[in-house]
Symmetry: C2
Subunit: 413 residues, 2 copies
Amino acid sequence: MSQKAGGSLRSLRRTNQEQLLALLIDQGPLHRAALARLAGVSRTTVSTIVNELLERGLVAKAEGKPIADLDGRAGDLLSVNPRAAVVAGMNHTFDGVWVHLGDLSAREVASAGTALDPDTGPAERIAAGASILRRLLDEEGLGLGQVLGAGVGVPGPIHRGTGVVGVSLPGQPWSHVNAADEFERALGLPVTVENNTRLEGVAEARWGAGRSVANLLYFGLSSGIGSGLILDGRLYRGAVGAAGELGHVSVSVNGPACRCGNRGCLVLRAGIPAVLAALRPVFGDAMTLDEMLDRTVAGDRAGERVLADVGAVVGQVLANLCNLLNPQRIVVGGELSRVGELLLTPMRTAIRRYALALVREVDVVQAELGRDVPPGSGLGARIGALGGAALVLSETPDLAAALNRVAAKGATA
Amino acid sequence: MSQKAGGSLRSLRRTNQEQLLALLIDQGPLHRAALARLAGVSRTTVSTIVNELLERGLVAKAEGKPIADLDGRAGDLLSVNPRAAVVAGMNHTFDGVWVHLGDLSAREVASAGTALDPDTGPAERIAAGASILRRLLDEEGLGLGQVLGAGVGVPGPIHRGTGVVGVSLPGQPWSHVNAADEFERALGLPVTVENNTRLEGVAEARWGAGRSVANLLYFGLSSGIGSGLILDGRLYRGAVGAAGELGHVSVSVNGPACRCGNRGCLVLRAGIPAVLAALRPVFGDAMTLDEMLDRTVAGDRAGERVLADVGAVVGQVLANLCNLLNPQRIVVGGELSRVGELLLTPMRTAIRRYALALVREVDVVQAELGRDVPPGSGLGARIGALGGAALVLSETPDLAAALNRVAAKGATA
DNA sequence: AAACTGCGTCAAGAGTCTTGACGAACTTTC
DNA sequence: GAAAGTTCGTCAAGACTCTTGACGCAGTTT
């Protein structure tokens, strides 16, 4: 249970170092006396430790002007050196890869990506991602040892333990690749592999429409349908990592057969191919999906009806889900979500109708991140990359300890 | 984030005390040298601390014969004094109340209960429970200050934050009672209130069919239908505490109306009243439910068919739930579960049929605890009381610290 | 300008842990 | 049955970390 040793005098010093680092990481710039008060130790001790951390380059004098909320002399503001350690996020979608570097206080350090042909194989995709990551690190003057970890997104469910991407759809590039191993080898970093949708959910939970919500369902509506569950503040994966695979929940027991082997799957009613098929008769074969969505948002009644039907069937699933999980908020994202209320209103109606009174208080809102992403630009991978970095931040049990270790390495190198 | 102070020298001593206590709590009896190795401190330090804890009565010499797994001299075995601190569980069902006292290593200290008339009001029930608790403490020579907390079960969903029991069924004795406050006042203890079914789930997760399973669904099949979700090792409650209220999941969109305001609720197909109604035509009006179940278990074909239908409809819900939560195991409990395979087999069939391949690996098993409870004896409350104690154990963030505090009080008193 | 408040640092002192040594207890070997 | 080997628990001396109280300094208020 209590794994951490923490006994000797030396470890008391380390504990205090890490406590001060932790305070600086999540309370922002502080001066020595404030640190002393927050940590419950004397100013003298803080001075000793801080000066040592300054020497090691873990902490830097913050330039921001002193906060003079009290009468007397203002102290030197200190903050974690943003160049001391970073976290990485990388997200592979069918049409590209995006890499994000962030510091420990969740600020962006650097970010870049590239579009890839949908036919590109996994090996080439991994190489492309690794090369971007290395370039970003070089440009920022950072070494691999300063990267605490990488959260990597790939399409499809990840089998927990084996790290193999499951076959959600046969013929996918990533099928049966042991993604975790491959990425760790290519990047030389501790890697957590997750599916794209979950990472988008993690990003929304940290920076987007799900900020400061402990129980959150992110619902991703794209060609596939997936979700990310944040339960009691943490990403929930399930026993083998298949939690939240909502595309193949059955919405009509005797509905059309799905290639998954079941009938009446949600994806057959609300996935992009299904929506496309429903919109074609309205707008004809010449338009792209995005043009059709634009027309619908502009007020096309027939298009509205198609989307309302999609919202209604999704809402029915969400209602059952509310009965089971009682989330505080549902964030709807994915390519289809940009139509906003056209989809959200029927969802809310269905939830009010089919969910228990106790759980109906749920908010249903549109995703916030990536609204600036032009449709079809291949930039959609960016949000998931953000989420990858957020995942590392939230799942590193003790960021301060990790920072302390990394820098110890960095100092000797 | 890092709330715990831990800075001064004095706190180093306290940290080490608590670490040794924690080791003794969950690694059982150990001698000083073993403690030193596990904690990473010197034998001298352990001696100093242990002798102090012995003096304070927190630790006692264990009588068990020394484990001579090594060559040399055997050390004095030490363990946490089981009389130093306990946790309480109390469970109120419609027909009685049961109280359980356990020590910090999850062993039973004492246990008792009483049957109550279904018409009994909440005030009288609370008084009855409190009186049993006080009697048990007296008999064991324990004071209130030595009880770290109580987990209390009541029928119906608890609104998190307000602590009010929601109205799942109008006319219930507990409706609109602020249970947490009432119990804290009556017991003079920190209290966590939960619904019966969840506590049964917690008990199964700790001691029963769900031992050492991190992702577990306990499905309780009685007059009402509820569940307890253990996700990543912890009880999941949802935003307002209504997670897992499965009785009113809709299983047939245009099914019969339910008093909850929806249609086709699961409880109308699988709740005890529904099962009773389905069995009556088979066995006639003279038999009790238990007699009918006995006859069915003994081989009555018509009864088997009724239960198979129940299992099938429940299985359909469980299949969707597996798609969403991907649990490792489903434990089926409640009064109906004693028929075992008659119910479990059709459940498994439905799950295989309706759940995604990835999540089908789920075990579906019968609850283990309380199989010795005679049907209709009013002893059903016992399992939940066990769960109440388990809940306190699992949700007290640092048992060792709590123990250390309690004893500090106890020493002055 | 003077008084006041709070910051950062220094030297002395107090508290906790470790090291190395010892006798005691148990196991194995002769 | 005695001797050798191993491990346990304890003691005294020494090392390390934190705190206390004092000081000079930098701001704010009067």
